[in-house]
């Protein structure tokens, strides 16, 4: 399958470079900017496929940057999960960008920010260096602030400000965590840290863990650090919210996985993740139950899904990790589909059968109904829990699923928001493509299972 060995850095450098080239293109021809952006995103998605197949062939791909050898130089390390997520983020970002295509005034800034966030989200999942990850986190965050505010309404500004405040606090905490680790180990390379983390005094280790969990948790929408999520998603346009779900939040959950598996693995960390995951799941789903605003409801549901993924990660076993991959992919696909469709909720299945059926599929997949990927995720998760006898947790998950089904029933039956806009052609294309992707994974689950299985093995071995 491999046509040429893609260096991972290309995935980041390519859109970054073209993002900064964009003003030039805009200057030459204002209309072509959206085709330009789409072209860059498609090329980047193709690169991510090549990288994915390369990783599947060769195993973990390393690349050192800037001429220094690790641990001094920056190391990129693309593992199985990283390549899956890179592919996922780039593909979905491309599909999602199609939904912006009908925008009358297609602004330069928007395109640049979009490419920036795509590049840096990809960066988070391919990096092997803690500080590098922090930088990508910040670029993602800065880009996201801009995107969230791009709707230009009072609500979007308010949501963006809330995100800025919490995001900045989070980034300070990440920096504190980095400082703690660097102060003791004098290294920022993931492998180096993982190899020598046991030499750190226990207090310092715990403090570093605390700082990093709080910092990354803000991005990964973990309760109680996720106050910004409902407000920002509700304020932003549905398409931007969709992009936020598929890109930055997935990168955030990947960083959490790296933290609890590679960086600072210890049993209390897993336990904490389990408790946090259960709390996030329950509070997210319950808060969505009575929600009248569709986007806010989806945001709460998104929080709940993040909790579910965190639970799957916290079990640190092969099957649970496979479940986590399925849940991540499912959430990225289905939730961004639902966000895109949230403007069309009112017309339901009958008035527009294809869109209606797509939204129906998305909702089913999120609730976890077979044969969609969400089902496989929940199934493997529950099978693993049954192995370990975590019956209380299983009950929590099943209870949450019932709550979820109830409010999605309302979503499907009649939207309760106040926007009555019909979908644009671009949005329709995006929704249908996402539904098709869901169906493909539903029909051929092994396409995702095999890479996920590799990823789980690699993660359990402390790799990326």
């Amino acid at each position: 399958m491999v046509m040429f060995d893609v260096p991972p850095v290309l995935l980041i450098a390519f859109p970054l470079f073209f993002a900064f080239l964009a003003p030039l293109i805009y200057y030459l021809s204002k209309k072509s900017i959206k085709f330009y952006t789409l072209g860059v995103l498609i090329l980047n998605a193709i690169l991510s496929y090549f990288l994915f197949f390369r990783v599947m062939d060769e195993g973990v791909v390393y690349e050192q940057l800037s001429g220094f050898y690790p641990p001094v130089g920056i190391l990129l390390a693309v593992g199985y999960l990283g390549s899956i997520l890179a592919m996922l983020i780039n593909t979905l970002a491309t599909i999602n960008y199609v939904s912006f295509f009908d925008e009358k005034s297609h602004s330069l800034r928007f395109s640049m920010l979009y490419m920036l966030v795509t590049a840096s989200s990809t960066g988070i999942v391919v990096t092997g260096d803690l500080f590098n990850m922090f930088v990508f986190f910040e670029i993602t965050a800065v880009g996201s602030y801009g995107l969230l505010a791009s709707k230009g309404t009072k609500r979007s500004y308010e949501g963006a400000i809330k995100y800025i405040v919490l995001g900045s606090i989070g980034s300070s905490f990440i920096l504190l965590g980095i400082a703690t680790i660097y102060g003791y180990l004098k290294t920022l390379n993931f492998y180096d840290i993982a190899a020598r983390i046991s030499t750190m005094p226990i207090e310092a280790k715990l403090m570093a863990f605390t700082f990093l969990v709080i910092g990354i948790g803000v991005e990964a929408e973990i309760f109680p650090l996720n106050g910004w999520v409902p407000d920002a998603y509700q304020g932003a346009s549905s398409r931007v919210a969709s992009f936020m779900v598929l890109g930055p939040s997935k990168a955030g959950i990947y960083a959490i996985a790296r933290l609890i598996f590679t960086l600072i693995p210890f049993s209390d960390g897993y336990e904490l993740a389990l408790i946090l995951g259960a709390l996030t799941l329950l509070i997210g789903e319950l808060a969505a139950l009575n929600q009248k605003d569709v986007k806010r409801m989806l945001a709460y549901s998104s929080i709940g899904q993040m909790g579910l993924i965190l639970i799957a990660l916290s079990l640190h076993s092969q099957i649970a990790l496979i479940a986590a991959v399925f849940l991540i992919v499912n959430h990225a696909l289905a939730k961004s589909l639902l966000f895109l469709g949230s403007r069309n909720y009112a017309s339901g299945i009958l008035k527009n059968p294809v869109i209606g059926a797509s939204i129906f599929i998305g909702a089913l997949s999120i609730i976890g109904m077979p044969p969609f990927p969400g089902f496989w995720g929940k199934w493997y998760l529950i099978v693993d829990m049954a192995h370990n006898g975590l019956w209380f947790m299983i009950s929590v998950i099943l209870f949450a699923a019932i709550v979820e089904a109830v409010y999605y029933a309302r979503f499907l039956f009649r939207g309760t928001g106040n926007e009555k806009v019909t979908l644009l052609p671009g949005e329709k294309i995006a929704i249908i493509s996402l539904a098709v992707l869901l169906v493909i994974i539903a029909l051929f689950p092994f396409l995702l299972y095999n890479p996920a299985s590799n990823a789980a093995t690699s993660f359990l071995g402390g790799g990326p």
Partner: protein, 116 residues
Amino acid sequence: MTYELLVPIFIVSTALISIGLYGVMSKKNILKIILSLDLMDTGVNILIVAMGYLPGGTAPIENGNYKVYVDPVPQALVLTAIVIGVSVTALALAIAINYYRKTGTIELEKEGVMKW
């Protein structure tokens, strides 16, 4: 490594971070919140720079005239962090201006428009 020298710096940075957090938690004015965030950032940055500090150390530039040099990595980190902090502040201010244009006030409402 002489940690005694670092103690005042720890105190200063902890104080800055605490003041910043207090500001974020108590102020409604967006500008004040942004200032508080900057204070937090500064506190963290001071802490990181202090990590690499050695008494009498110089910058590790290869001119052969030094014996003790400070760790360059924290400085690089802090430089990056400062740049990021500046850009976040700029963006926050831009959004605050837009918010002001839309609402006519720079205070976040006591009860958020979007809640529950």
